[in-house]
């Protein structure tokens, strides 16, 4: 079939649609008067909740640190957990700013690149937060435990901490889109809502392919 015939086919389809499609004015008028929630506003709302929840959590952590200054192990562990969470809150605030720059009337590649950048950043926040896991194994240490815990106690405890350090660093390094070809990475990312990231990154690859 030649180019002209294909275009003619599409044109005939157009005529058919013109005759057969009927707008439901009642529904469209309802849309015009109601403020429907769209994906971007629901994403924005989640980010705002993330920021508020994060700030509350950081304040609680700071409060605990300030009131437990005598225990250096607690201060370091919880202080570092607070630092991780400050980073997450800052990233969520940055997402809100990035979201303001997304304009649905921009060119397709420009709008989609911005959305993909947010999606990628969201995934990175998750990966970085994984790194705080070992700190939840150490916050309860104190000087008395260090002095009198005994070799076996420390052997078991430090093995657990080392295990969590290894696993969290491994997850941090592995759970990226570049490892998506690994079956378990894909499944892991997908099970934590990463399908959007996968689609966004696939689309970015498609854009890059065009720009070659």
């Amino acid at each position: 079939m030649e180019e002209l015939a294909i275009k003619q086919l599409w044109h005939e389809y157009d005529i058919k649609l013109e005759k057969s499609l009927q707008l439901n004015y009642k529904i469209i008028r309802e849309m015009q008067t109601q403020k429907a929630e769209n994906n971007i506003t629901s994403f924005r709302r989640n980010q705002v909740f993330g920021v508020i929840g994060g700030i509350i959590w950081i304040l609680i952590l700071v409060f605990l640190v300030v009131n437990t200054l005598h225990n250096i192990y607690f201060v370091i562990s919880v202080g570092l957990i607070a630092v991780f969470n400050i980073f997450a809150v800052a990233a969520y605030i940055r997402h809100l700013a990035m979201l303001d720059q997304v304009n649905i009337t921009d060119s397709v590649t420009s709008a989609q690149q911005k959305l993909a950048a947010i999606q990628n950043s969201l995934n990175n926040v998750g990966r970085i937060l994984v790194l705080q896991t070992p700190l939840y194994c150490t916050f309860w240490y104190n000087q008395q435990l260090v002095d009198h815990g005994g070799a076996m106690f420390w052997l078991i405890n430090l093995t657990i901490v080392a295990f969590f350090v290894a696993i969290s660093v491994y997850l941090f390094k592995t759970l990226t889109y570049k490892n998506i070809h690994r079956k378990w990475v894909r499944k892991f990312i997908e099970s934590f809502g990463g399908k959007k990231l996968i689609k966004a990154m696939e689309f970015l690859n498609e854009i890059e392919e065009y720009q070659k």
């Binding site: 180019e3 499609l21 009927q22 649905i104 397709v108 590649t109 989609q112 959305l115 689309f203």
Partner: protein, 168 residues
């Protein structure tokens, strides 16, 4: 513009370009429910963007940008259909006649479009809509040279598909 006037002129624009919305939704969603959902989402996003429409711009470029961005971003919705405020038992656009075109070639063409990657699909729709290279570049945000190369490649694939079928 007064809001009643704005609502009426928006309705007139949608009426005039309803085919674009329908064809994009059909090219990006196979399932009937998803298609209705996408039509509704496109119309809604057009309405939201309408007040900021710059009349110096071409209306069709603006429409294609919004519709394609919504269609391509629809993966962001996943299964959250409950976010819609208007139940999908009623749709914003209905087909009065026979919804499934009987023409074999048209079905084949639609099938070919559905199988393409998102950006190729967008490009193919614009090509079939006979948009100029410049307008396609403006809608997609790519250079005209990139558009030309890709369009030729997709056209070849399409020709090959039709010739294989016709030779069978």
């Amino acid at each position: 513009m007064h809001s009643d006037q704005q609502e009426e002129s928006f309705l007139a624009i949608i009426e005039q370009h309803k085919g674009i919305i329908y064809k994009i939704a059909k090219s990006f969603k196979r399932n009937e429910y998803d298609k209705k959902d996408l039509v509704q989402e496109i119309i809604f996003q057009l309405w939201r963007a309408f007040p900021s429409f710059d009349e110096r711009c071409k209306l069709s470029t603006w429409m294609y940008r919004v519709a394609l961005n919504v269609a391509i971003s629809s993966y962001r919705k996943e299964q959250k259909k409950n976010e819609l405020i208007i139940p999908l038992s009623e749709s914003a656009m209905d087909f009065a006649g026979d919804e499934t075109p009987n023409e074999t070639n048209l079905n084949l063409l639609q099938q070919f479009i559905n199988e393409l990657k998102e950006l190729d699909r967008a490009l193919m729709i614009l090509y079939l809509e006979e948009k100029s290279g410049k307008e396609m570049a403006e809608i997609l945000g790519l250079s005209e040279a990139n558009i030309r190369t890709k369009t030729n490649r997709i056209k070849e694939q399409l020709k090959h598909r039709f010739s294989t079928i016709n030779n069978q």
